[in-house]
């Protein structure tokens, strides 16, 4: 505090009195944004819940066509990426810029692995015609309206996938800024906000995984 008021740090915007106030404001804003994200996904979780309560047997039969191993692999990948993201922030808190860069690169790599696995899953389903709504042509799932399962599946994992891509872009941006030496143990708010976003992407997947891959 004393050093901050004596010498105005570069990152401190003029409408904040202290760095701490600025950081806490940023974090509050980020959490309000995450609230809207939770409600965005929440509507889809609601759709899932309603359709599954209407067609429990169909959901069970359709979920057998998802690959449990690939789903588990992606769960582990995202958990590890959350760890490397948290460690990237911790490294910057300790002023270790090199390690922050390394951890951000690991996080990006794990996110890419997630998307590659997702690509294989999607292309397999597209080949079989297990597609949403009227595009659905697959025969062989018993129960009412199996295309509804894949509508919800593609909507939810698709929106999640878009979030993974957005997360990668944001991580890439803070990585570039870290390389450019914008951050220090005094100021690393953008990395921290990116971390919160990335953990939310992990949180959503933590629920998507059992709801789609591990029914019954």
């Amino acid at each position: 505090m004393s050093t901050q008021s004596a010498e105005h740090p570069k990152h401190l915007l003029h409408h904040f009195s202290t760095s701490q106030q600025q950081a806490e404001s940023a974090k509050l804003g980020m959490w309000v944004f995450l609230l809207t994200e939770i409600l965005l996904f929440g509507g889809l979780f609601l759709a899932y819940t309603v359709y599954r309560s209407w067609h429990p047997d169909m959901f069970y039969n359709a979920h057998l066509f998802l690959d449990r191993e690939l789903g588990s692999l992606n769960t582990v990948v995202l958990i590890l990426s959350s760890l490397t993201m948290a460690l990237a922030i911790r490294s910057m808190q300790l002023g270790n810029r090199k390690r922050t860069i390394r951890m951000l690169v690991f996080t990006l790599a794990l996110a890419a692995v997630f998307l590659v696995v997702k690509y294989f899953e999607y292309s397999h389903k597209i080949d079989l015609g297990q597609l949403p709504g009227k595009l659905y042509t697959f025969q062989g799932i018993e129960g009412d309206n199996p295309h509804v399962f894949f509508s919800v599946y593609f909507l939810m994992t698709g929106l999640h996938g878009i979030h993974v891509v957005a997360g990668m872009l944001t991580i890439g941006w803070v990585l570039w800024r870290t390389v450019r030496n914008d951050f220090s143990s005094e100021y690393y708010t953008p990395i921290e906000m990116t971390g919160l976003y990335w953990h939310l992407v992990d949180l959503v997947w933590i629920f998507l995984f059992p709801l789609f891959y591990l029914i019954g």
Partner: protein, 147 residues
């Protein structure tokens, strides 16, 4: 976090992060393992309990909610409670339809390719219901009064 003399940021020990990750991986192994067994409705309950536990670990430790100003936790919980209300009230509708008045269920999208292949289905009878709609109406409860 509220103290004014808080110049140094709160840095968690490396051990905490590693232990949380190990916990998340163990919980994942548990939930995958249980999915191979059949406990009826308990499968869903256990899967959700494990997911909530994992989410709590991520939110409290990775997202620092346990250590930060509690206002962030409040924002997070507001989102969850709002979502809970949304789901509860909607299910109060969708789960009780037909309890008072009889209703018949029809397939959702009669124009879906899978229904076109079924020659025994009579799309003409259903056509007037989906007239002008090129896409999935997603109204599963769309009641069809068959003649």
């Amino acid at each position: 976090m509220n103290s004014q003399s808080h110049a140094q940021h709160h840095v968690l020990p490396l051990r905490t992060y590693v232990m949380v990750t190990v916990g998340l991986l163990v919980l994942t192994a548990i939930t995958v393992g249980i999915s191979y067994m059949d406990f009826g409705v308990f499968n869903l309950l256990v899967a959700m309990a494990v997911a909530v536990a994992k989410a709590a670990l991520v939110a409290l430790y990775f997202m620092h909610l346990k250590y930060d100003n509690k206002i962030y936790l409040v924002v997070f919980l507001v989102a969850l409670v709002t979502l809970g209300v949304l789901i509860f009230l909607t299910l109060a509708d969708t789960m009780t339809r037909g309890d008072i008045d009889q209703e018949e269920r029809g397939p959702i999208n009669r124009r879906a390719a899978m229904y076109q292949q079924d020659t025994t289905a009579v799309p003409a009878a259903a056509m007037h219901m989906t007239e002008g709609q090129t896409n999935d109406t997603t109204a599963s409860e769309d009641t069809s009064h068959a003649p």
